[in-house]
């Protein structure tokens, strides 16, 4: 039973992480910085509860807000670059964050002994759950309440004008600008909200793991973050959740017997999805038949190719 509860916790945390990338991908930006925002939330929330005895809710909220603030700060310069250059820039940012925590040493005395980030040795003793007598089940419920809350918020957002504007920016930036859409506001708000969600996920992760270190926040984590919405498809939130369940539940845990070959399968999966279903496994037409999507989809017509000709 504990194995499944543990797995449910991991799936919940990774769903939050995937949803954070979902926000940013909507505006057409591929960001590998989500792992960095996750790390900021993890360290901030972990430090607040373990070093200064903050209540959990306040620590998680503060961690999320700090990650969101950093994301907004990163979002502005990131506007200047697109596509591959944005991938490089956000990767560099995530590495800066990782190396910052690799070097950060800040220990304080508590009744339970010295606590705090200890550089390359990591940051242990984030023992809010055990010392407050939380059971694994309770932690699991907390995580999934947060997942549900974030999913509801994003579902709401996607129906609002803000969500439509994000999608419009992701479709065509010049057309969006000409339609009166402020690109800066759209991209930075997506970065900020996505960063906040990643920070929340990080805060939960720190308390779930009780010990975190810089290597938890490597580029692999950021790759997972964007892989979920890409594999699941951007047209619905459920796609991201299903992708996490598939990758974490089946690919990582279910195939444990094949050992490290699993990471290779992860790469294969991404390539296959890109080839077979570029808009994600759960694209609009499948989503609609499952009652998840809203948009009507019919096969592409060739008509759009007309119009190049002009009458002189």
């Amino acid at each position: 039973m504990d194995f499944y509860l543990g797995l449910a916790q991991v799936i919940g945390i990774h769903t939050l992480l995937g949803l954070s990338a979902w926000c940013v991908l909507h505006t057409g930006q591929v960001s590998l910085a989500q792992g960095g925002f996750f790390a900021i939330g993890a360290y901030a929330a972990g430090m607040l509860t373990s070093m200064w005895g903050w209540p959990l809710a306040a620590a998680l909220a503060t961690g999320a807000l700090m990650a969101a603030a950093v994301a907004v700060a990163v979002g502005f310069p990131a506007l200047r670059v697109k596509g591959l250059m944005l991938v490089v820039a956000t990767t560099a940012f995530a590495e800066i964050v990782r190396l910052f925590f690799f070097n950060l040493q800040w220990r304080v005395q508590t009744p339970a002994g010295p606590v705090g980030p200890d550089g390359s040795l990591g940051f242990g003793g984030i023992r809010y759950f055990p010392s407050n007598g939380w059971t694994t089940l309770q932690v699991c419920i907390l995580i999934w309440v947060l997942v549900a809350a974030v999913m509801f918020m994003l579902w709401w957002l996607d129906r609002s004008r803000v969500g439509t504007v994000w999608r419009a920016v992701g479709e065509d930036e010049l057309a969006a600008q000409s339609a009166g859409i402020n690109l800066t506001a759209a991209k930075v708000s997506a970065f900020g909200i996505g960063g906040g969600i990643a920070g929340l996920a990080g805060g939960v992760f720190a308390h779930y793991a009780t010990h975190i270190e810089h290597s938890n926040f490597s580029i692999l984590l950021a790759t997972f973050a964007i892989a979920y919405p890409i594999i699941g498809g951007l047209s619905s939130l459920a796609g991201t959740l299903l992708a996490v369940i598939f990758i974490q539940g089946f690919l990582t845990e279910g195939l444990r017997f094949i050992g490290d070959w699993r990471s290779l399968l992860f790469g294969v999966l991404i390539v296959v999805v890109m080839l077979v279903r570029p808009s994600g496994f759960l694209n609009r037409s499948l989503g609609r038949s499952l009652g998840l999507g809203r948009a009507t989809a019919t096969p592409q017509t060739g008509d759009a190719t007309r119009g190049a000709s002009t009458h002189a």
Binding site: L157, R159, S160, R161, V162, T164, V165, R167, A168, E171, D172, L174, A175, A176, Q177, S178, A179, G180, I181, N182, L183, R284, R294, A295, T296, A297, T298, P299, Q300, T301, D303, A304, R306, G307, A308, S309, T310, H311, A312
Partner: protein, 251 residues
């Protein structure tokens, strides 16, 4: 409504637009024509803010907008369509309009428009435009799946959905057959009758001569003639520019 003052844009040594003076009056349909490469598209891009002018200024409703980014110009009431249709393909027809609605309200009303489902009046406006564009029955279809003529109509009403007072139509008839052009003609007139001003950049002479109140002619980045369609058709320099002479026309 719109004034171009001494507007120039040079690309290296090429004077794409050179000392252009042009005034669009409120409520009129002004045609901007010229042979290929005469600077029409550059002019559109200068007015909408895609390019910055090398010299001169763009004035809209008495305000110098030369330095404003494109979305600010649209907020002020200036919207465009594109020669090569640029819709939000993976958004529905309705979402295309909804994304293009410029929120000008402040405070709670603005918050409601941005983050909630929007005020009833705003949705009704968009519905009216759907009816105007004959697209009400396709409101939930993805824009990419519309037929060519429907995509053109959606671009037109998307520009109008921003609440624009001045519409810049960049070759809206490109690729259309005679029947579709007739339809476009009446739609442009109806948009004007709703109180909008229209700057029509077009290759299709019949449409321009039919629908425009006044016409300005560009050649080599300069304005070589301006007047009613009849006057412009009689103009010797215009005839030379279109029929071709060895001597470049001078203004």
């Amino acid at each position: 409504m719109l004034e171009l003052k001494n507007l120039s844009r040079h690309f290296g040594g090429v004077k794409a637009v050179d000392q252009l003076e042009l005034t669009v009056r409120k409520g009129e349909i002004l045609g901007l024509i010229g042979p290929n490469g005469s600077g029409k598209s550059t002019t559109v891009n200068l007015i909408t803010g895609v390019y910055q002018p090398s010299a001169g200024s763009v004035q809209f409703k008495g305000q110098d907008i030369s330095a404003l980014p494109p979305h600010r110009r649209t907020e002020l009431g200036l919207a465009r369509t594109f020669q090569n249709i640029r819709l939000f393909g993976q958004l529905t027809v309705w979402q295309n309009l909804w994304a293009a609605r410029v929120v000008r309200e402040a405070g709670w009303a603005g918050f409601r428009e941005r983050w909630l489902s929007g005020a009833k009046a705003a949705r009704e406006q968009a519905e009216e435009l759907l009816v105007f564009g004959d697209l009400a029955h396709k409101r939930d279809m993805l824009a990419a799946n519309l037929a060519f003529g429907e995509q053109r109509r959606l671009e037109l009403i998307r520009a109008a959905a921003s609440g624009a007072e001045l519409l810049l139509l960049d070759e809206p008839a490109a690729g259309m057959n005679a029947e579709e052009i007739q339809d476009l003609d009446s739609r442009i007139r109806r948009l004007r009758d709703q109180g909008r001003t229209i700057l029509l950049i077009e290759h299709h002479m019949e449409l321009v001569m039919e629908v425009c109140d006044r016409v300005a002619v560009l050649n080599f980045g300069r304005k070589i003639a301006e007047g009613t369609p009849a006057e412009v058709q009689q103009d010797a320099q215009v005839r030379a520019a279109y029929l071709g002479t060895d001597e470049p026309a001078t203004a």
